[in-house]
């Protein structure tokens, strides 16, 4: 699974969720806040996940562990 495909897949899913948030939040006194909040939250969480995933896709360094005395 070391491919870039999940990035685009999840992007599509998140875009769909954002559209749903835009269209389906019930109208009321807090309409704007809920809609804006949901969309920004979805976008921000996706961005952070995407960056974390891509950073580990083709890592340039490998972890080095030193065996300790115990265990």
């Amino acid at each position: 699974m070391a491919s870039i495909l999940p990035v685009f897949l999840v992007l599509v899913i998140v875009a769909a969720l954002m559209t749903a948030a835009f269209l389906f939040v019930p109208k009321g006194p807090n309409h704007t806040v809920i809609r804006t909040g949901l969309m920004i939250a979805l976008a921000a969480c996706y961005l952070m996940w995407m960056v974390t995933y891509m950073a580990q896709l083709h890592p340039l360094v490998s972890p080095v562990i030193t065996i300790k005395a115990e265990d």
Partner: protein, 823 residues
């Protein structure tokens, strides 16, 4: 349309309204509007001295009542046994509107005056009685102690008598005095004496002074009074001594008396005769008992009076506060003598005009008059105040963004977006699942106990945390998410999925194993294979720094784009072309390019290519220092592309300066300057200035505008670079947090993890408690406050500088609910 409901995106639409209020109904109208809290009144008499305004008399009366209420409140607070004060929501309300209002206020005035005079009288008599009691107690002590002196001296009396008998015949005076003496065992003294009490500390000084003044011709004795005297007002204790001084001669006695008085002693006349002394003692005791009874009765009367005051104190304070506000507001109105009406002007949210009209009508009905106040909208070119309608959830976020500056009227409100971006940026710096849960639960508790906590007085610090409970709630929730991303729970890692790293077999103690990557990647967050690795920080730092830049550039771009709705709303299309477009191209061509290269470099499998992965930092720097030549290309055609981007950036800056200055003088739209600018920057600049020479009559304005625009441009360019680097604090704080968490674990619990025996277990429990306390205080509270501050700074400086105009004034309606509760 969003007109149905208010939105936080912009300030509410405000209208300037004029109210015509008949004088009879004025007080009740303002009371009703104050309860509603929707109207900000303008001062229509700005040039009038506060002492010359119409309602000065009423305000003075209310001030007197307020003074009395403050006096009561101080007296209640000074009581040693706490007096229960009935809280406002529990008290019966005083009706201050309607036809009986004036009567209620008069009655209140009378009640307050009565209470005050009674209380003052009782205080005074209590004081006097206390002083008398003290004097009597001192007299009693003096009598008792001097009895001891005289009894002792009696023993030596016979010696003295014999010496006297041997000397010359008794003088006539002695005979007189002898006749006054009665019964056996009485003492005859030729020496006279002075008795009294004095502070224990001053006795040695007193003795020395007397010795010097009288040259030793005195005999002084003194004893301690065992019980100290407690001053009822201050509660301080004084210790006193009884003294008796024997001396001979009126002159000496007078001197003694003077010295005693100057040292602050109290003198008590004592009779030499023992019987008389006994009688005096009895008298004093009787009087003391009487006074103590009276004192006790006064005390309990005063106490009951104060308790009665405590029952109604809050409602009095409420009434006085409201009336004061009402009359102060009435003073702002303009009095129209002819029509006997008051004219008021003020700002109201347009949406609320109907509510206000309803309130006006209900005020008229209550007061019983038939003429209602009239509301009338005015047209004005003055800037209305900015009003963002918030509820208890959005209030906290709006407040922290308003602290930077009140948004201009109808400007895009950064507070709306901060509802999510602020907790999210906080969470990037705070990412830890465990700590996130702790602050989430703290916030949940405060929210669930909202009603109860709102009524209490929580104090300044806890009150601030309570005010921001919804902010803390979101901060905790997002921190749990970023904790999952960083795979950090109390400095440990979670293994929710299979790690992507495989570690071949161990060889021995001290050997190093290098992990190898498999075919699948850890799908959600940081791979737990990195936890405990020696070069953990090498990878994690690179990851977090790049993430900070990516998220920072995206945040700044978003903030920059918020300019566009502002330009559209305020009908400034020029600004879109002259400000926004150049700025966004500049930002994108340099830092957007950097973000794209970061993402591109991550997406390439460098082990399959034969090119060495280039350093992006070196690439960015050399893009500026030596454009066109790329030493280690990241992709094909990198050189020319970078040159193009650089030129784009330069062009945009020149365009900004040129266009704004040019267009700002109402010329026929911007000339196409992009061709000229490509030839050379100097030429583009020179062209603009040369054209300025033609417009001599507007030279001054043009110069100012150009200078302003140059400053703005330089500020933006430098700002872009510095702000992008500033976002690296997201990395810095999250690194600090992770390291602190790790150090705390390794220095406390880690050493106690294999408990041996009961002592081991007890030690583990104690050290765990210590770890938990330190987690809360250092990692949650201290680090939390630090991350809060930095996230706020990012919003105020980095984001707001891209679009925020500010300069608005806040909407401050007359509202009884929001008025300060001055005790």
């Amino acid at each position: 349309m969003a007109d149905d409901y208010p939105s936080l995106l912009r300030s509410e639409q405000m209208s300037l309204v004029q109210l015509f209020v008949p004088t009879e109904v004025a007080h009740d109208t303002v009371a009703e509007l104050g309860e509603l809290g929707n109207m900000q009144f303008k001062d229509l008499n700005p040039n009038v001295n506060p002492f010359q305004r119409s309602f000065v008399g009423e305000i003075r009366r209310i001030d007197e009542m307020a003074r009395r209420v403050r006096f009561f409140s101080a007296q209640l607070a000074a009581e040693k046994d706490v007096v229960p004060i009935r809280p406002l929501y529990d008290s019966a309300p005083l009706i201050t509107v309607g036809p009986r209002a004036a009567q209620t206020i008069d009655e209140l005035d009378v009640t307050l005056t009565e209470h005050e005079s009674r209380l003052v009288k009782m205080n005074e008599s209590y004081q006097t009685l206390s002083t008398r009691t003290r004097e009597l107690i001192e007299a009693k002590h003096v009598l008792r102690e001097t009895a001891v002196f005289f009894d002792r001296a009696q023993g030596q009396q016979t010696d003295i008598r014999t010496s006297f008998d041997e000397s010359s015949a008794p003088l006539l005076q002695h005979d007189d005095r002898e006749n006054q003496f009665s019964s056996v065992g009485n003492v005859q003294f030729d020496l006279e004496f002075v008795t009294g009490t004095l502070d224990r500390a001053r006795i040695p000084t007193f003795e020395r002074v007397l010795w010097r003044v009288l040259r030793g011709n005195l005999y002084m004795n003194h004893t301690d009074i065992v019980e100290p005297f407690v001053d009822p007002a201050t509660g301080s204790e004084t210790r006193k001594n009884v003294f008796i001084i024997f001396a001979h001669g009126d002159a000496l006695l007078a001197k003694i008396r003077k010295v005693a008085e100057s040292m602050g002693a109290t003198l008590y006349p004592i009779d030499a005769n023992a019987d008389k002394r006994a009688e005096a003692l009895r008298e004093v005791s009787v009087r003391l008992e009487d006074i103590e009874t009276v004192l006790y009765n006064t005390g309990s009367n005063r106490r009951s009076e104060i308790v009665k005051i405590g029952e109604s104190l809050r409602s009095w304070q409420d009434v006085v506060k409201k009336e004061k506000l009402i009359y102060e507001t009435l003073n702002l109105f303009n009095y129209d003598v002819r029509r006997k009406t008051l004219i008021a002007e003020g700002w109201v949210p347009t949406r609320d005009i109907t509510t206000i009209q309803v309130a006006l009508r209900s005020a008229t009905e209550e007061s019983g008059t038939s003429v209602p106040p009239i509301l009338h909208e005015l047209r004005t070119s003055k800037t209305p105040p900015t009003y963002h309608r918030t509820n208890k959830f959005t209030e906290g976020f709006q407040t922290i963004m308003d602290s930077y500056g009140i948004a201009a009227y109808q400007e895009i409100n950064p507070g709306l977006f901060a509802v999510v971006t602020f907790p999210f940026l906080f969470a990037i710096m705070f990412g830890d699942i465990g700590h996130g849960f702790i602050i989430l639960f703290a916030a949940l508790y405060m929210i669930l106990a909202e009603r109860k906590l709102a009524k209490q007085d929580l104090g300044e610090i806890v009150g601030q945390f309570f005010f921001g409970r919804y902010i803390i709630l979101l901060m905790g929730a997002f921190s749990i998410y970023t904790g999952l991303m960083y795979n950090d729970i109390f400095s440990k890692s979670l293994h929710l999925w299979h790690s992507g790293w495989n570690f071949p077999g161990a060889e021995g103690v001290g050997s190093k194993i290098v992990g190898t990557i498999g075919s699948h990647r850890y799908p959600f967050g940081l791979d737990p294979g990195w936890h405990g690795a020696d070069n953990n920080l090498v990878f994690v730092n690179s990851y977090k720094m790049k993430m900070s830049i990516v998220l920072g550039v995206i945040h700044m771009t978003f903030a920059l784009c918020l300019q566009v709705p502002n330009h559209i709303k305020f009908k400034r299309p020029v600004d879109i072309y002259a400000n926004f477009i150049p700025q966004i191209i500049f930002l994108m061509s340099i830092f957007g390019y950097l973000v794209i290269t970061i993402l591109y470099k991550w997406s390439v499998d460098w082990s399959q290519t034969d090119v060495k992965p280039p350093s992006l930092l070196v690439m960015l720097i050399s893009m500026f220092l030596s454009p066109g030549t790329v030493e280690e290309p990241l992709y094909r055609g990198q050189g020319p592309i970078q040159v193009v981007l650089l030129l784009l950036a330069a062009v945009c800056e020149m365009k900004k300066i040129h266009d704004q200055g040019y267009v700002g003088l109402n010329h026929e739209g911007p000339r196409d300057s992009s061709d000229e600018a490509l030839e050379g920057e100097e030429e583009g600049n020179g062209r603009a200035i040369a054209e300025a020479a033609d417009e001599e009559h507007e030279e001054h304005d043009f110069g100012e505008v150009v200078i302003h625009q140059i400053i703005h441009t330089i500020e933006f360019c430098l700002g872009c670079i510095s702000h992008t680097a500033s976002y690296l604090r997201l990395w810095a704080l999250s690194l600090a947090h992770a390291q602190l968490s790790e150090v705390l674990w390794s220095m406390t619990i880690e050493g106690f993890l294999n408990p041996a025996g009961v002592i081991g277990w007890i030690a583990l429990i104690i050290i765990s408690a210590l770890w938990f306390v330190l987690t809360i205080f250092i990692l949650c509270i201290m680090e939390g406050l630090s991350a809060f501050l930095h996230a706020l700074r990012l919003h105020w400086v980095e984001a707001n500088s891209k679009h925020f105009e500010g300069g608005g004034h806040a909407f401050t309606p007359l509202s009884f609910a929001n008025a300060e509760f001055k005790e």
